[in-house]
Amino acid sequence: MEDILGTVPAWRVLNREMDTQNEYQVDLGNLMAFDPFHHFTSIPSSREELVAECLSNGTELVQAIVSGVFNLPSTEDIDGPLVKLPPPTTKLPREKPLPKPKPPTRWEQFAKAKGIRNRKKDKVVWDEQTGTWKRRYGFDRVNDDADVPIIEAKMTDEPGVDPFAKRAAEKKERVQKNQKNQLQNLKTAAKAGALPSHVQLAATALPITGTQAAKKKFTKDELGNVAGLASTATASGGKFDKKLRGEKPVKNQGKHRKFLPVVEGSGIGSQEKEQTDRVLSKLISSNSHEILNVDKLIALEAALFVGQQQ
């Protein structure tokens, strides 16, 4: 036993810890140690010596951390002894600003002024109509308006008003009012910079007065197509233009000229003749009422007749 104690470097560490000049700064929370007094007396010439010296110095520092960690109170676990590390002492910057406190909602302000406190309510309520336990809110809830099939008429009822429709409209109004209030609370939260991380307050564009709907936003695809089409409006048809990012080639670019086959096979027939015939017949048919100008003909005939007599 004595022999082992004599040789362990733990001795040396103990000695060094006692030595006031060579005190290490140990941060157990980060498992970090720093020796601010270490310096090379002469920088070793070979790489191996340098590495060896760095490692020997590092070993001492690690030994200092390990002695700190192993002396912490530990609890046994299946995987091994667990120790509770102290919080890190080295101050490091945050990655994001501190979250801001959420401003109270209008109801919370009111409740505070009036001294109203939250009461806990049961999730299920005894329903006397059906004689069962039912949820307070949600599907198949207690006192659900939709469950009442008959509304008894009262003397004060106005004739011609559908009580069911009225009830539905009132409910809709209440829901809308609540949504409006929620939005108002969110706006104040946004102003304080404490909007919940999953909520975005998106601006919905106001429709221009006179138009029916808000202007549609173009999609990325549509813009790409339009950019491609626009680029063909140059002298080269867009061939030598620099392409924009996201620009797409023109879809279904129209064919401007169609050439007839040079050699006409037996089955095809004379396509060129057909084509000219078609054009001619179209022209003639559209102007057919001008072919026979009766007035002109009569005048011509009359002139000829006069000439013969003379």
Binding site: M32, F34, S197, H198, V199
Partner: protein
């Protein structure tokens, strides 16, 4: 007009909540990326840093031509990537004639560049080139020790900065409880001169010493390299003050059903859950019984409350 927009799926909401600013932060993610030109050495350095930080790092392997962290206007796409990946640290590698094997390590605050330090990599030895007993190989994701030695880390401004950045890059997750059986690796940083730092990664061998504190032996497992400090940019004072703010009161999680009594000590309330005897499968309650008979049976024994509406048969 404003409209509250909320995610459609719970998963998206949870993901957004993870990215929200927290009172007590858990740890920074690291983005590892490169410029248009990298050397063979630098590629290995980047991939090995990624390998060591696998659990909270993201590696981008495409070339980035618009990133120049030290120049104005060259940080926009870096800040965008930081936003996109929710990383608050980055390691950017590039090589040029003027600055061969250049590594820029930086941090961001609120997705804007906080500070930067540029180092050159020299005398790099990759992980594969070290031979050691594979039993010593540390477990992935284990908490490393970090040791710094050298007076230059305190006297020289650049190295002081580098020390802080390296600590944040290498320290891993901040933990409350540490398993002593899982300890196994050390980063050793030594200042060789006023602008040169030797960094190596070692495995730890714990040996018996006769006391509860084991004797430590270090075995180099790589990677090991020299960092030569080039340029650095410290955060401006107001930003630093802002970023150093900490939550004064740590959030205490409410402990339910446990109370303390002066006489009896710690008291706990235990709720025995409903045993659901009615739902127990009985041997004669076969599933194959005809529907009418099954329903009749249920109707007869319907003393318990039913939460769902029964379907009405006509």
């Amino acid at each position: 007009m404003l409209k509250a927009k909320t995610p459609k799926y719970g998963r998206v909401k949870r993901e957004l909540d993870k990215r929200a600013p927290k009172l007590v932060e858990t740890g920074k993610k690291t983005l590892i990326l490169q410029g248009t030109k990298t050397s063979n050495v630098l590629n290995t350095v980047l991939s090995e840093i990624y390998h060591l930080k696998r659990d909270n790092a993201i590696r981008y392997t495409r070339k980035n031509d618009s990133i120049r962290p030290f120049e104005s206007g060259g940080e926009t796409s870096l800040e965008f990537f930081s936003m996109k990946t929710d990383c608050s640290m980055f390691v950017y590698g590039s090589t040029s004639k003027k600055r061969p094997d250049n590594l820029v390590i930086g941090r961001t605050y609120d997705h804007h560049i906080y500070d930067l330090i540029e180092v050159g990599v020299e005398n790099f030895k990759r992980m594969d080139s070290f031979t050691y007993d594979k039993k010593l190989a540390p477990q992935a994701g284990s908490k490393p020790f970090i040791v710094f030695s050298g007076e230059a880390f305190e006297s020289v401004d650049e190295l002081k900065h580098l020390k802080e950045v390296l600590l944040e890059l290498l320290r891993g997750e901040v933990v409350d409880n540490l398993n002593l059986a899982g300890l196994g690796r050390v980063y050793v940083c030594t200042a060789i001169s006023s602008n040169r730092v030797f960094l190596t990664h070692c495995a730890m061998r714990l040996k018996k010493s006769g006391t509860i504190v084991p004797r430590i032996e270090l075995v180099e497992i790589g990677p090991s390299m020299d960092f030569v400090v080039r340029r650095h940019r410290l955060p401006n004072e107001s930003l630093k003050k802002e970023a150093m703010k900490t939550a004064k009161d740590k959030l205490h999680k409410k402990i339910k059903n446990v109370s303390k009594d002066a006489l009896q000590g710690k008291l706990g309330k235990i709720y025995v859950p409903d045993q659901k005897v009615g739902e127990m499968v009985l041997p004669n309650k076969a599933k194959g019984v005809k529907r009418e008979r099954r329903e009749a049976k249920v109707k007869n024994s319907n003393n318990e409350r039913t939460s769902k509406k029964q379907k009405e048969d006509s």
